[in-house]
Symmetry: C2
Subunit: 246 residues, 2 copies
């Protein structure tokens, strides 16, 4: 009945915040550690970037250091923790100047910056996101967004909605952008879309779904579609806030 303070969770949180004042759960006895958490995460991220999240296994990551899979456990705890640490590590927020021209530009700069991070690490879209389980880097993004909303006097009641919608939209558009670049690098020629296959299997698809099959892409260059969709969405959202805030 002792109040056990969930040491695994504490260790995980301390690893997440290791560069922000938390002390790493470093061993006090036993042999020196031969690996480094940051290098482990860099290796894992490199693998995920190149071959997808599914290619990240304890054994593969450890092999980059000539070690066995079990050697990672003192550093990361569990596989799930490893992925969470990779997620936050890859989410480091770049520096940019906050536009002074208005709310729309401010939100747009934020959204595009986050979009770029997701494009650089497409597997981030496969990871869950919530405000309750964040590391410092992810927290930076949220704080920055709220600062923009505060700066432009978005009423507090509207902020949670904006946060939810913006994050969700960035993640969604980045996800389809990542899918695009995936099929780009595997050769468009041999790629036959499921959409096309559906058109031939269901010849009257256009009649049955006139509106959804008639949707026109937002830009002629379909590669840019997700980015443009994000820009338009931000504008729409900002216009709603302009109305509320005005």
């Amino acid at each position: 009945m002792a109040v056990e303070p969930d040491r695994d969770m504490d260790a995980h949180v301390r690893r997440l915040w290791r560069h922000r004042g938390a002390t790493l759960p470093t061993p006090r006895r036993g042999p020196r550690q031969q690996l480094d958490l940051d290098e482990i995460l860099r290796a894992g991220i490199a693998i995920a970037d190149a071959e997808g999240l599914a290619a990240v296994s304890t054994r593969v990551v450890a092999a980059r250091f000539g070690k066995t899979g079990m050697a990672l456990y003192p550093y990361v705890g569990t596989k799930e923790n490893l992925l969470a640490l990779m997620q936050d590590h890859a989410s480091a927020m770049p520096a940019w100047e906050d536009p002074v021209t208005g709310l729309t530009d401010g939100l747009h700069a934020w959204a595009v910056a986050l979009f770029e991070v997701y494009l650089a690490h497409p597997w981030l879209t496969e990871r869950p996101w919530s405000q309750a389980t964040q590391g410092p880097n992810e927290q930076d993004w949220l704080e920055r967004l709220l600062r923009i909303l505060h700066r432009w006097d978005v009423p507090p009641g509207a902020r949670p909605s904006v946060v939810t919608m913006l994050y969700a939209t960035v993640r969604a558009t980045a996800g389809t952008a990542a899918a695009y670049q995936r099929m780009n690098q595997q050769g468009i020629a041999e790629w036959r879309g499921q959409a096309e296959a559906t058109m031939t299997q269901i010849p009257d698809l256009r009649q049955r779904y006139p509106l959804s099959t008639g949707l026109e892409p937002v830009t002629p260059h379909w590669q840019d579609n997700p980015r443009v969709a994000l820009t338009n969405s931000v504008q729409l959202l900002a216009s709603a806030l302009g109305r509320t805030a005005g």
Copy 2:
């Protein structure tokens, strides 16, 4: 160099649209099939609902029919196809009356209906979503949404953005709602949040992140948070459209 018509893809599409005019790739020779695709999908969905998507394996699903894992392959092709079929099967659109009171109510009814489906099958949030790989049930949702936008004269240029944001927001809020009900049924008492652990590890978190740690929940009953967040988001979005459309 023959133009091979990608038979696996065709078979998959025909299975997806099997109840909408497509002919199932049914065998013409050999022993009678002892299983039924719809029953397989129902079994898989039941497992995913009860134990999560990770618990769905070919062997476990097949065991429900006293068969081995390999027995599923004539019916679904691959594991990934099985999951895609489950996804569409679980996305069947319920019937509801389209509100005649305005765009906001129309969008809200749509969003809540989709939200409920996601709550009934929380693993849907773990599945990728894109307009390019949809089955009939998912297509129904999109068409319905576009009909609402058409009905209330939302300008065509704004529609793709609304579609993206609404889907993304529903999926995001449903995802956190699913997380809530997960920790509800595993007992709140023993559940110690990572957020709490962070607060104790980083005592000055509130000073460092005044805005994000000061975010107030949108409703006193935190259980209802996602639903209310969704409602607010829809309202915000509709207000933007009201301005554009007006």
